[in-house]
């Protein structure tokens, strides 16, 4: 008796996680199963190497940046709660009328602003709230590898920062970033639907 079971009650804070992320019970069970499949040594948490093992992620040019987003503040491990919290950013936005949400409740993780914030911190390497020209260059370099010369990349980075920068400080803040993308259908482009 008693083999490994992904029984809901065995995970601590199950209800807290549900409320915080907004995932359905079925989705959370699936994600927990996925978490345990990725955790190869059954440690109970994920380390960088567990995520680096995913072949399709390693070939993604921004794979390392995405993995970094799971380990904020220099930590080296992420538990199930942290794992699901990041994935919750990609939960599709349900069609609820604006203004119905209770203003006292914290903003849901998959709101438009939070999705944009997630994309912003992929650019913002030192997490200082601004994308400098130097950071833009580094991220561009990740995306193109060795295919593009330094001058071409610099001119692209310069142009992009110039176009987005409104207060002239030579860097793109989060508000400037959001303004540039105000017409973008962020809700749809940054959403992943979990099958029932």
């Amino acid at each position: 008796m008693g083999s490994c079971s992904s029984h809901a009650a065995s995970i601590p804070d199950w209800d807290d996680i549900r409320r915080e992320t907004g995932f359905s019970q079925a989705s959370l069970v699936r994600l927990h199963h996925r978490f345990r499949a990725l955790d190869c040594n059954k440690k109970g948490y994920l380390c960088r190497m567990d995520l680096q093992q995913i072949g399709a992620l390693a070939v993604n040019p921004l794979g390392d940046r995405i993995i970094d987003s799971f380990f904020p503040d220099g930590s080296h491990s992420v538990d199930f709660r942290g794992f699901v919290r990041i994935l919750a950013h990609f939960r599709p936005v349900e069609d609820e009328g604006t203004g119905i949400r209770d203003p006292k409740e914290p903003e849901p993780l998959n709101s438009r602003m939070n999705k944009l914030r997630f994309a912003f911190q992929l650019y913002d390497l030192d997490r200082d709230g601004k994308i400098s020209r130097h950071e833009m260059l580094q991220v561009l370099r990740l995306m193109v590898g060795a295919q593009v010369t330094e001058e071409q990349l610099e001119s692209i980075a310069d142009r992009t920062v110039q176009e987005a920068d409104e207060d002239g400080d030579g860097a793109v803040s989060f508000l400037e970033f959001a303004k540039t993308l105000e017409k973008m259908n962020v809700e749809q482009k940054m959403s992943i639907r979990i099958l029932k």
Binding site: M1, L38, C40, M143, T160, M184, Q188, R193, L195
Partner: protein
């Protein structure tokens, strides 16, 4: 009976208001099969009002594509799920295959308990006895045959000793095997390739045909068996140091197949055990030799016992014990018609052609990924391809552009 057990569990679960975890076979997220270029253009189009021409440029929103693709792979990818045991739709009364095991009803538990009793106290000792007999007969028999002078009589005896002992081992595991198309069985001077799920594959194939094995020299019981069988017929065993030298391996195999009187070689080109839902990349070494290839597809029926050997989870002895305490091992073996390398295809293309044929026959998913991903990281060349595609979108094909 499996269906009844599952129905009972589901009904019990509904009564207690739990949500039973339904096993998924197709993946857990909805994916759109669009290319990098299409998706990034789509993203840009939805974000700006200006007309989209084809001039290469960079947009801040391009990052959304990579970000989402990356997250999708974290939630679900094709490879990781091949290295753990397959999940079943209905329960087969083995607690090891049920991830949702919880107390549902007295009747079911009693049934399960009875199953445990039968499997551990009745079947297991019987099987261990048979296995013991089979292995000792193999070692003793082949050693004795080895003393005979080379000739037809030795061959005849060797073949029958091998076959008999493997058949005893098959009984020891209670493997119920259905062979299809036996007319296509591998002949001398050829190479037999098959998909790999567990070490039992060897026993299953060898009990129906007389093969020359290829493998690394092991210590312990395996080593004793290896040393014994090679006395009776020429198997190809490599020292650990020789395995790294690909040319040496290829040379020895080529010499073997060139001799038409020698037995067909049995090789598993995936290089590692996969969980029998898919076939992974075949290593091209065996396909460079130039002999006729006889593909064989092996598919286990997971209803009676999961044969996949998860070597990172279980050692060999634990694995064999698990096999011997399952109900039975039911599998189908298809012998496919022989294939040879065409003049205009290279070894890799030939390997992929054989792999597709095996996957199609066995009803397995044909994957391009390398089974070595179980233990190592993927090569950087694949990442470069993505980077190349993206660079084209933002700077064009290295053409000079004058910017205002």
């Amino acid at each position: 009976m499996g269906y009844w057990a599952t129905l009972r569990m589901e009904r019990g679960a509904k009564e207690k208001n739990h949500q039973l975890y339904k096993p998924y076979t197709n993946g857990i997220i909805a994916k759109d099969p669009t290319s990098l270029e299409e998706e990034i253009k789509e993203i840009r189009r939805s974000g700006s009002t200006k007309a989209l021409d084809n001039t290469p440029e960079f947009e801040l929103s391009d990052i959304f594509y990579f970000c989402r693709k990356g997250m999708e792979t974290i939630m679900d990818d094709e490879v990781t799920k091949r290295f753990s045991a397959e999940e079943l739709e209905s329960w087969n009364l083995l607690s090891r295959t049920n991830y949702n095991f919880q107390y549902i009803s007295l009747r079911l538990t009693v049934l399960w308990g009875l199953g445990v009793l039968i499997r551990y106290c009745f079947l297991l000792p019987l099987r261990i006895a048979l296995a013991f007999t089979g292995i000792s007969l193999l070692v003793v028999g082949t050693t004795m045959v080895g003393y005979l002078p080379n000739g037809r009589f030795k061959e005849f005896l060797s073949k029958h000793v091998h076959l008999m002992c493997y058949r005893i081992c098959v009984r020891a595991l209670t493997a119920i095997i259905t062979y299809h198309d036996r007319k296509n069985r591998p002949k001398n001077g050829g190479i037999c390739v098959a998909n790999h799920t567990s070490p039992i594959d060897v026993i299953i194939l060898a009990s129906d045909g007389y093969y020359a094995m290829v493998g690394q020299v092991h210590g312990g019981l395996m080593g004793v068996i290896q040393r014994a069988v090679v006395k009776a017929c020429p198997h190809v065993w490599f020292e650990r140091s020789e395995v790294k030298d690909r040319h040496l391996v290829a040379k020895r195999l080529t010499e073997h197949v060139r001799d038409k009187s020698k037995l067909p070689i049995l090789i598993f080109p995936e290089g590692t055990c996969i969980n029998n839902t898919s076939v992974m990349m075949f290593k091209k070494g065996s396909f460079e030799i130039g002999a006729t290839v006889y593909p064989v597809a092996i598919k286990y029926d997971p209803q009676f016992g999961d044969a996949f050997w998860n070597s990172s989870k279980y050692g060999m002895v634990t694995y064999l014990l698990r096999m011997m305490t399952s109900w039975a091992i039911v599998c189908s073996v298809w012998y496919l018609p022989p294939m040879t390398r065409e003049t205009d295809e290279d070894a890799v293309q030939f390997a992929n052609r054989v792999k597709s044929a095996i996957a199609r026959q066995g009803g397995l998913v044909d994957l391009l990924w390398d089974g070595g991903l179980k233990r190592e990281k993927v090569k950087d060349t694949f990442k470069e391809e993505q980077q190349k595609l993206y660079s084209k979108m933002i700077v064009g094909n290295h053409e000079d552009r004058s910017r205002s």
